[in-house]
């Protein structure tokens, strides 16, 4: 099991398109992916778009990502990459 805290840096936060990209990514891996906010106890399933949207992760939110499974190293690296790339957002105003 791997855990890392990643900060949402894109302008819009994790909105619908960003969430869709995240789900498309996490669903490619066998590992379980959990996300949690520091101010909420329950973690959500990183493969559920409704769960991710419910996080209401706006810009600046630090999320704890927990990955557990046979391909956890690759999964965490891929998720981190998406965060670093600002969820491929093109800086468009929302």
């Amino acid at each position: 099991m791997l855990t890392k805290t990643l900060t949402v840096n894109n302008l819009l936060g994790i909105h619908a398109r960003a969430a869709a990209r995240l789900v498309a990514l996490t669903s490619r891996f066998q590992s379980r992916v959990l996300l949690s906010r520091p101010d909420r106890r329950e973690a959500i399933d990183g493969k559920s778009i409704l769960g991710i949207l419910m996080l209401a992760a706006s810009r600046g939110t630090a999320l704890t990502v927990t990955v557990d499974g046979p391909d956890e190293t690759e999964a965490l690296a891929a998720v981190e990459q998406l965060f670093v790339q600002d969820f491929e957002e093109k800086g468009a105003p929302r």
Binding site: A16, R21, L53
Partner: protein
């Protein structure tokens, strides 16, 4: 009485059209307890609907991807993900299994739970996302009930969508080319309505609060997306005033603009082709000289008087309107089509003759002959406005020689009563009812020219109304029956020296224009935005290639083979850089 509603414009421009209201919220749903042995069957029913829904969403996604690009198609991807989410499909399954209830009820409960959870969020953007879930649930419920979603069933081809808010997934239900504007109660700069409207470049007004309560489907609307104003059932003066504010006609863009800028115009590949413009309101023709057309091929007179009582329009009003038109284009000729009104276009008539579109009863010339006085006043107006002799008249919805005789008799009678003011006027008829194709020879003895209305002709020939649940597909206009009928028209009219002006959408479509040219038609009348494209084809098409293409087309009878022929041969027909533009112009679906 014009009513004016004020909201906020989020996508500029002026749209004129008919209101079509879209539903929001979920349909009422009942709860049933299932006997244990039925649970598995219910789950299978649910899965089938889930799959069907996902399939529909994928279809919309493909459509949006071509129309709006990848960014927006990702929104639909998100919808598919929501549909398949453990918190959605998973939760619905759990409820069906755990509580032994019907799927509809489980969908309702799940949707409400998600709504509650979202309502607590502080982020306004995410609270808006709940619309997506509702939208998906509505679609799923329709699929479970086995109701059809697709199939552009509407009476209008100038639709202003009216609703609380417009959702992405509503789009598969309409042909994008028929969508002219949006007017919604709610919305924000970032809501679906606004995003879609700006992407499609169609006018939109949001935050009208209660337009859904004030407008009925079928109301005539003018949407000013720049000023944020919506006019409900405006009188003609208002329409004209608002339209006059419309920004000057955008210069043709893309590949066709090359052609517009060439001076002098290159010789036409079809040298004897004549190009006219269709119009509804004289002010549309302010830049008429720049259009470089031969005249107004079809002036749809009823649009000037929409919202008026047909009996209350005076000969003087008719005269003033047509005189403005005649002056504007002199010495070119304008063809005025007398009122093509049916109960679907006028609430007043709808009460007397409650017929739904396509209104195959009291419409067009039939209504004019039936009313008598109103028809005479219109003819008097046309005759009086024809001081310079550049007007002619055409009668809509003709199905028999008898109607033409009667209409002509009334015209001559009115003319006789005007004394010197009544100079002879060339008379034509619309060919838009299939019966007329086969009596063109007889009709030619009674008229001076023909106007071909392909929109109705396609519908009636194939027995498929625009608001029906059956859609004959994008290549309906290429149906061999229609082509054969039109061959008769072209041959018989030419033998008798009668011009046939093709006025309908077929002339404005690159594929179907090729068919009309192949048949031998040479006069085309299209709306201003289509002029550049049609002119391009008239210059570009190679006569020998067209003959070979048409011969090949004539050997085909299945629509699928015809579609295939167009797809294969288009590249040979036009230079590469234009093929893309033509492909984009093809009907989507």
């Amino acid at each position: 009485m014009t009513r004016v509603l004020q909201g906020n414009g989020v996508s500029g421009g002026i749209a004129v059209g008919h209101a079509v209201k879209v539903d929001k919220g979920l349909p009422p749903v009942f709860k049933f307890r299932l006997r244990p042995e039925y649970v598995e069957r219910e789950l299978a029913r649910l899965d089938e609907a889930l799959q069907k829904t996902a399939g529909q969403l994928r279809q919309i996604q493909k459509l949006l991807e071509t129309q709006l690009g990848r960014e927006h198609s990702l929104m639909i991807e998100a919808h598919v993900m929501i549909l398949q989410d453990a918190h959605f499909a998973g939760a619905i399954r759990d409820i069906v299994r755990g509580e032994r209830v019907n799927s509809e009820w489980a969908i309702k409960v799940t949707t409400e739970r998600i709504q509650e959870a979202y309502a607590k969020l502080e982020d306004a953007y995410l609270r808006e996302k709940i619309q997506d879930v509702e939208d998906i649930s509505r679609r799923l419920l329709k699929n479970i009930a086995g109701r059809e979603q697709n199939g552009n069933h509407t009476a209008y081809d100038d639709i202003i969508l009216v609703g609380d808010e417009i959702a992405f997934s509503m789009f598969s239900d309409w042909d994008l080319k028929h969508l002219k504007g949006f007017a919604v109660d709610l919305g924000s700069w970032t809501s679906h309505t606004s995003i879609i409207a700006r992407s499609l470049k169609i006018p939109a007004v949001i935050q009208l609060n209660d337009i859904t309560a004030r407008v009925h489907t079928g109301d005539f609307l003018v949407v000013d997306g720049t000023a944020g104003t919506v006019y409900v059932n405006p009188d003609a003066a208002t329409v004209e005033r608002v339209r006059a504010r419309r920004e000057p006609e955008v210069e043709a863009s893309g590949p066709y603009c090359l052609l517009e800028s060439r001076e002098p115009a290159p010789p036409q590949a079809v040298p004897d082709a004549q190009l006219y413009v269709n119009s509804e309101i004289p002010t549309e023709l302010d830049g008429y000289r720049r259009l470089a057309v031969r005249g107004v091929g079809l002036f749809r007179s009823e649009y000037l008087f929409l919202g008026r009582s047909i009996e209350g329009i005076t000969a003087g009003e008719h005269e003033a309107a047509y005189r403005a038109l005649a002056e504007k284009i002199y010495p070119d000729m304008a063809t005025i089509r007398t009122f093509d009104l049916g109960s679907d276009k006028m609430p007043e008539l709808h009460q007397r003759y409650p017929e739904a579109n396509p209104a195959l009863g009291m419409r067009g010339i039939r209504l004019s002959l039936h009313l008598g006085g109103a028809f005479r006043r219109q003819l008097e107006g046309i005759l009086r406005a024809n001081g310079r002799g550049n007007l002619r008249v055409t009668f809509p919805f003709i199905s028999s020689v008898d109607e033409v005789r009667e209409a002509r008799r009334i015209l001559e009678d009115v003319r006789g009563s005007l004394g010197d003011a009544g100079r002879p006027l060339p008379v034509g008829v619309m060919l838009e009812i299939p019966s007329t194709l086969f009596i063109v020879d007889a009709l030619a003895d009674l008229v001076d020219f023909f106007t071909l209305g392909t929109n109705d002709l396609v519908q009636y020939t194939l027995a498929s109304s625009r608001d029906g649940f059956y859609n004959p597909g994008p290549f309906a206009s290429a149906h061999p029956a229609l082509r054969k009928g039109l061959e008769i028209v072209c041959r018989e009219a030419a033998a008798r020296g009668r011009e046939v002006v093709c006025c309908g959408e077929m002339a404005a479509h690159p594929y179907f224009l090729l068919i009309l040219l192949g048949i031998g038609f040479r006069s085309f009348s299209v709306n201003v935005p289509s002029l550049a494209m049609v002119r391009y084809i008239l210059h570009q098409v190679d006569g020998e290639g067209l003959r070979r293409f048409y011969a090949e087309l004539s050997g085909l009878s299945a629509l699928a083979d015809i579609e295939d022929l167009f797809t294969r041969r288009l590249g040979e027909f036009f230079p590469d850089r234009f093929v893309q533009a033509l492909r984009q112009a093809t009907p989507n679906r």
